[in-house]
Symmetry: C2
Subunit: 234 residues, 2 copies
């Protein structure tokens, strides 16, 4: 990786493949990274541990873990008791707005990132959204990111004073395989990441939820073996 | 007040004059109100108590109080230990971006309101921002509200499926006197509201911070006596 400069960037980090790769890209682009992770009533705290480990491995100036209570509103399999779908075909996954959709989640995450960036005097925010594999999430599309950026520059003292914010979504047009190849090239250790919506009690990925299926397909297409352990595959 | 219908609206409620008047306006426009209040490391929890009392008095279907930790980022007199300015002239107050500015605060609040609205199946969100008295807050301007609304409709399943969100900012062009007169006409009991940035230990408003000065001037211009007790005036 290149030497860091004093340019600061806030990077949203969940501990999964996409956000970890995004952190590696931000570092490679010369930013001093300030990672921001949310504890938002996910059913699995292993995501937080993964974020902590990947942040340490890739190197960040600071890692803030914020508690936010999205359970007060409900509305998603990731925070409620709705059943996580298993064993779906990849075309079904791509076609729907998934049941794992959390209302306005990326908007909430980016809003906190904006507050953090303004406090730090940073003008750059990185988010690992991806429009191809998850076409079902409205807040993963380029037009959404552009609209957030425009709003952010009207919302803040920094924006008003001419220090514009930029929302970087470097993965937005990549396939999962391209994301993984990029990460491997930048030295990401994917054994530290976690993706599964419904891991087993001994911490293995289920291998059958939408997130596992997309991850496994990505590694297959990249021609790289996924280093995390699975309870079953496919 | 008119009879409520089944149309639901989320109303951001701080317990101050503006948000309380906004709640009364939403109810008067026929909405079933879902109030949303944040505990965000303000120095004074009396704001939360005021929000609870005004919500009960005006009538809401549900009142959600969410904890969010803006102190992790710092950057404002309302959450840090920066001195609250006292005894400034009204022209000074209007000219600056105030030290009490919290980075991206309204963006964070509206993002949670959006998540709550989408979960409820509501399409309407009310916020009591006001562009005239507080020209210093960038996130109180009409162009900011319009940009947030546009982003919200790209961010969400509801927006994508054609059930557009509307961000109502009914106070945006009103003077403080007009706001108070409107509230009094709609039956608001302003003795339940709280405004002061720096109240005394026995719960009196200081009468000298920017918020008190604007409130007192508003009541003066409306020709109505402010029912809350002050430690001193002006």
């Amino acid at each position: 990786m290149k030497e860091t400069t004093t340019r600061k960037a806030v990077v949203l980090l969940s501990g999964g493949v996409d956000s970890t790769t995004t952190l590696a890209i931000a570092r490679n682009e010369g930013f001093e990274a300030y990672a921001l992770t949310f504890r938002y009533g996910q059913r699995h705290t292993c995501e937080i541990d993964a974020a902590r480990e990947t942040a340490r491995y890739i190197g960040v100036a600071r890692h803030v873990i914020l508690d936010i209570d999205l359970r007060s509103f409900g509305g998603s399999a990731l925070t409620d008791d709705i059943e996580v779908p298993k064993g779906r075909g990849l075309t079904d996954i791509a076609a729907d707005i998934p049941v794992t959709y959390v209302p306005a989640r990326n908007t909430i995450f980016l809003s906190f990132a904006l507050a953090f960036a303004e406090t730090l005097g940073a003008q750059d925010i990185y988010i690992g959204v991806n429009a191809l594999d998850y076409s079902g999430y409205p807040d993963c599309r380029p037009e959404y990111i552009a609209a957030f950026e425009r709003m952010a520059n009207l919302a803040t003292k920094a924006g008003v004073e001419g220090r514009s914010f930029r929302i970087h979504a470097p993965l937005i047009a990549m396939t999962k395989a391209e994301i993984i190849r990029t990460g491997v090239r930048l030295g990401v250790d994917y054994s530290l990441t976690t993706t599964c919506y419904d891991p087993t009690d001994d911490g293995k990925a289920c291998g059958r939820c939408d997130a596992c299926l997309l991850r496994l397909e990505g590694f297959r297409q990249a021609g790289i073996e996924d280093p995390v352990p699975y309870a079953c595959e496919g």
